[in-house]
Symmetry: C2
């Protein structure tokens, strides 16, 4: 088997999601996921550190885009402008084609406490990476942490709405609406 | 031994903290905590569901005060006013006498991933209880969730500051400053 094969990670993700959804997370082994994706168990572990990580590795890709957006924002951007630039850049990850997969993935996570724990940890890691990125752009404390936490909240709420039945707007569009609501809360 | 004895929970808390700090969390058993507090293991488990919970049961008391503050706020209060009323009421829990204990407790939590997980879950539970309390006060979505998440963030950041070396302000005072900072972020 080739050491690198395009689409292997995506196939492993889809296979894992199908098995977790149909049999349950605990009942599914990494070997079974590998077999369903047509690769060896060794290839599975070359791609993911454990079977929880199959569902969460994509969050690192999303976080990298979010952080890239902050780094690329124009000089002199305010904390919220930096955070919005990150949200916009990150939202590009969540294409319309991904939405059905994301819905199924969330249903699996919501059904398994062990997966919810990993999701919480990833969420915390995103918030602290955002805080770091903002400090690197010269934002002082406590503004950096407050903005980072606000960004993590807006993303989390926007994502939940994005996968809601019938929702068709992009995450960026939903997030902009939420930021507007937040601003209104502080000025009313 | 009396079924109910004043101060038993506090003694168990202090004993647990001392043992976790000196020996480590994994190395300490519920029986050892009970012995150090001068009670039986059975009394320990009548007070706390497990040895992690010794450190976290007080968060439920804090959350109850926070929610009570929201419920007692005047009619017509805005979402942020309701949340501030909760923060003010909750802050009464964190007396100056508690500060050294809280510092030691946080150092123990920060040193043990298993305790950090429980802390994250408690934090999530507080945020969702706040959202529920705000909806019960008639706040619609997404304002209720956004305000609840903001409240959880402000509390978290205020608490970290409250236990910082040399800090003497109350949590309520620190939280008011942070809310002002947040408002300024949205209006600048």
């Amino acid at each position: 088997m080739a050491r690198w094969e395009p689409g292997t990670r995506d196939r492993l993700r889809e296979a894992a999601l199908e098995l977790f959804a149909s049999r349950g997370f605990e009942e599914t082994t990494a070997a079974e996921i590998a077999a369903a994706a047509g690769v060896t168990e060794r290839t599975f572990f070359r791609n993911f550190s454990d079977k929880r990580e199959v569902l969460f590795a994509s969050q690192d890709e999303y976080a990298a885009r979010f952080l890239g957006g902050i780094a690329a924002a124009p000089a002199g951007a305010s904390p919220l402008e930096l955070m919005s630039a990150g949200l916009d850049a990150g939202s590009g990850f969540f294409t319309d084609e991904l939405r059905p997969h994301s819905r199924k993935r969330q249903a699996v996570i919501d059904a398994h406490p062990a997966l919810q724990e990993r999701e919480l940890l990833k969420g915390r890691r995103l918030a602290s990476a955002l805080g770091q990125a903002l400090r690197e752009r010269g934002i002082p404390e406590p503004a950096a942490t407050l903005t980072a936490e606000t960004g993590a909240t807006v993303f989390h709420v926007a994502f939940q709405q994005w996968i809601a039945p019938g929702e068709t707007r992009s995450i960026a569009e939903i997030a902009r609406g939420l930021l507007g609501e937040l601003g209104a809360l502080h000025t009313s």
